[in-house]
């Protein structure tokens, strides 16, 4: 896969299809890949990397990149392609300046997950079939890839690249029984007091670094309300519990019915807050109340929050369903 992708990147650059390639750059260790732009064969040969650590969703970079001269090639994993299409739908990316190479994906791993398993000091990683061989300061270790997967990949919703100019690897299918709402349901089954305690515990860790927002392809505002002093709700740091809640509620609401559930927010959170649960709560509610909807899966369907039917349920439905009392 890695070789095919690199070869494709070189091919597209050299045959003049594009003048830039957006991919992942090798870091200091095997696991710390950085999104990067490549403009030459040499660069690609030396530093382009694709591995189970190519988790970063590249689609958001295209908002800026597609406005630059010439065409850019981008590699999109299935979940990234949903974000890409949602951005297209919102007129944020100039499609004609992007050449999309879809790549089949079996799930991405996370160093955080590996560290969580007590493996530290990892200086090198090698993919070995279904396993990862780790060289650490404290001796060699092995971990199954499946045990190192990102949460979003454990509950992968789709292996289908929804928009591409060409595919590398075989395109997959949507996975309806991803169990991605299991945790949401578990929370819903709690009492409000328990839920409140759960979220306070999580959100009180927030350091308002904006990583979730800045990485989020749906949070593509020219100027975020939380940065805009005129909005009346601008904040630099959460100065109270309320502000912690407010930021995450409003952010989730702003991306509701636009969030593709790409999981980047939770991946990048330095405080390991399961932010995706908020988005999934909205997705689950939308699916249940207004019919199945997957943001980014097509170009035409109106996002549920910009749509209605005359016989929609009343807000009082929340008293009847929702969490147990």
């Amino acid at each position: 896969m890695r070789e095919m992708i690199k070869a494709k990147a070189i091919e597209l650059l050299e045959n003049g299809t594009v003048n830039r390639v957006l991919g992942w750059k090798a870091g200091e260790f095997f696991y710390d890949l950085t999104p990067g732009i490549f403009t030459s064969r040499e660069e690609i040969e030396e530093t382009f990397e694709y591995s189970v650590f190519s988790a970063a969703n590249l689609s958001k970079y295209l908002i800026a990149e597609s406005r630059k001269e010439g065409k850019i090639a981008v590699f999109l994993k299935p979940c990234d392609s949903y974000s890409f299409q949602q951005l297209l739908k919102e007129h944020r990316i100039w499609r004609d300046r992007v050449y999309v190479v879809g790549i089949a994906c079996d799930g991405m791993c996370s160093m955080d997950v590996i560290r969580d398993k007590g493996i530290t000091g990892v200086t090198a990683v090698e993919e070995d079939g279904e396993n990862l061989k780790l060289t650490t300061l404290y001796g060699d270790k092995t971990i199954a890839k499946a045990d190192a997967l990102l949460e979003r990949c454990v509950h992968c919703k789709s292996r289908k690249v929804v928009v591409f100019d060409e595919m590398i690897g075989e395109n997959g299918e949507e996975i309806p029984d991803s169990h991605r709402f299991d945790m949401v349901e578990k929370l819903e089954a709690m009492t409000p007091e328990e839920r409140f305690a759960f979220w306070r515990g999580e959100l009180s860790r927030c350091i308002r670094c904006n990583a979730c927002r800045n990485v989020c392809p749906a949070c593509s505002c020219e100027k975020c309300v939380f940065d805009n002093d005129k909005s009346g709700i601008a904040q630099k740091a959460a100065a109270s519990d309320f502000e912690e809640n407010n930021f995450h509620i409003i952010r989730a609401f702003h991306v509701a019915s636009r969030c593709t559930d790409c999981g980047e927010c939770s991946r990048v959170c330095p405080q390991n807050i399961p932010l995706h649960l908020l988005n999934r709560k909205f997705i689950r509610d939308i699916n249940e109340l207004y019919g199945e909807y997957q943001a980014g899966s097509d170009m035409d369907t109106k996002p549920p929050l910009m749509n209605f039917t005359t016989d929609d349920c009343e807000p009082s439905v929340v008293y009847e369903r929702g969490g147990k009392v």
Partner: protein, 340 residues
């Protein structure tokens, strides 16, 4: 040198916390350690370091400065500071401990001193803990920090059976004396130190070459074209800043609850697009300039102002936390050493 058997460490904590507030690094929810006020039943984390740095305890993320009450054209200024109670932090690593020196330069020694910081520093007692198992992201040694022998008022070593303590300052010795611990042989600690240093020797960035990052090369580094490439993936978030033990930029903001106006300061990040935004624009218009500012500050401006001391302690938090894995090591490797 004093000694406490591993089984008794919590008795020591209990004793300390009776007199003053004690913070220890403990696991907080999932996969993260954090300095938390010690309460009975709490256990020390097994993790190397806390997710957030120890600077929080001296320079908190949000800090109230003063209040105003406004009526008509009149303003009343209310100083609302409470006396800061004395507190003890246990388990500060060598890198974080060094970060206090770096912050001291700005907040204490540069006149006028910041009284909020000053009060906390005066009331805080730092017990450091040597790093038994440094991680691949650690590079404190690059800044001449010895993870085996951290500074602080008291230095502690953790061994299989016991904790060893050494007082470094009067304040530290006084506390140790109060605790009435058993005298111990220094040899055990020395062995531990050697073991740590052996690992530190193997750290991939332990000998990070920082030549070229100095006042003399200020303009050259500033003008280096490679900043563009280094910064191209930067999201402009504040993760690196907020987990950094030495970042000290802050914003002053106000909150009006309708009755009084609370002026407070909170951390800010030079990575944010509005950091230098004025009514008529910003002098750092793209992420390249903002990214450059952060690393120039750590590696060039700070040493230029403070006798060559770098504004980084090699704790490695930004290496672990950056969403796109761009960090000070990549910058140093690209622009420093033989690449300069």
């Amino acid at each position: 040198m004093k000694k406490v058997f591993a089984a008794d460490i919590y008795k020591v904590f209990a004793k300390v916390s009776q007199k003053s507030k004690l913070y220890i690094p403990a696991d907080d929810g999932v996969s993260q350690a954090r300095f938390l006020p010690y309460m009975e039943g709490m256990t020390l984390t097994e993790k190397l370091n806390t997710g957030r740095s120890a600077k929080d305890l001296f320079f908190p993320q949000v800090e109230n400065l003063l209040k105003f009450k406004v009526s008509g054209k009149q303003i009343e200024i209310v100083d609302q500071r409470d006396e800061v109670e004395s507190f003890v932090i246990f388990g500060v690593r060598a890198c974080d401990c060094r970060s206090f020196d770096i912050l001291d330069n700005v907040f204490l020694y540069d006149e006028p001193a910041d009284t909020f910081y000053k009060t906390r520093r005066a009331n805080g007692l730092v017990i450091t803990l040597a790093c038994n198992a440094p991680e691949e992201t650690c590079f404190c040694t690059a800044f001449g920090i010895d993870p085996a022998d951290p500074a602080g008022d008291i230095t502690a070593w953790k061994m299989a059976d016991a904790f060893y303590f050494r007082g470094n300052t009067d304040k530290g010795n006084a506390l140790l004396a109060e605790l009435e611990l058993v005298e111990a042989d220094e040899e055990a600690a020395h062995q531990q130190q050697e073991a740590i240093r052996a690992i530190a020797e193997k750290l991939p960035f332990g000998k990070l070459d920082l030549t070229g990052f100095d006042k003399e090369h200020l303009m050259e580094k500033f003008k280096d074209p490679r900043w563009a490439e280094l910064s191209e993936s930067c999201l402009g978030c504040g993760t690196c800043t907020f987990v950094c033990p030495t970042c000290q930029c802050y914003d002053i903001r106000e909150f009006n609850n309708g009755k009084e106006i609370q002026r407070f300061r909170c951390w800010d990040s030079c990575m944010y697009s509005d950091f230098t935004m004025m009514a008529h624009g910003t002098n750092r218009p793209t992420q390249k300039e903002r990214f450059r500012q952060r690393f120039m500050h750590k590696l060039v401006y700070y040493p230029s102002n403070y006798g060559g001391v770098y504004g980084c302690v090699g704790c490695g938090r930004c290496l672990q936390k950056c969403p796109v894995h761009t960090n000070i090591v990549k910058v140093a490797k690209t622009l420093g050493g033989e690449n300069k």
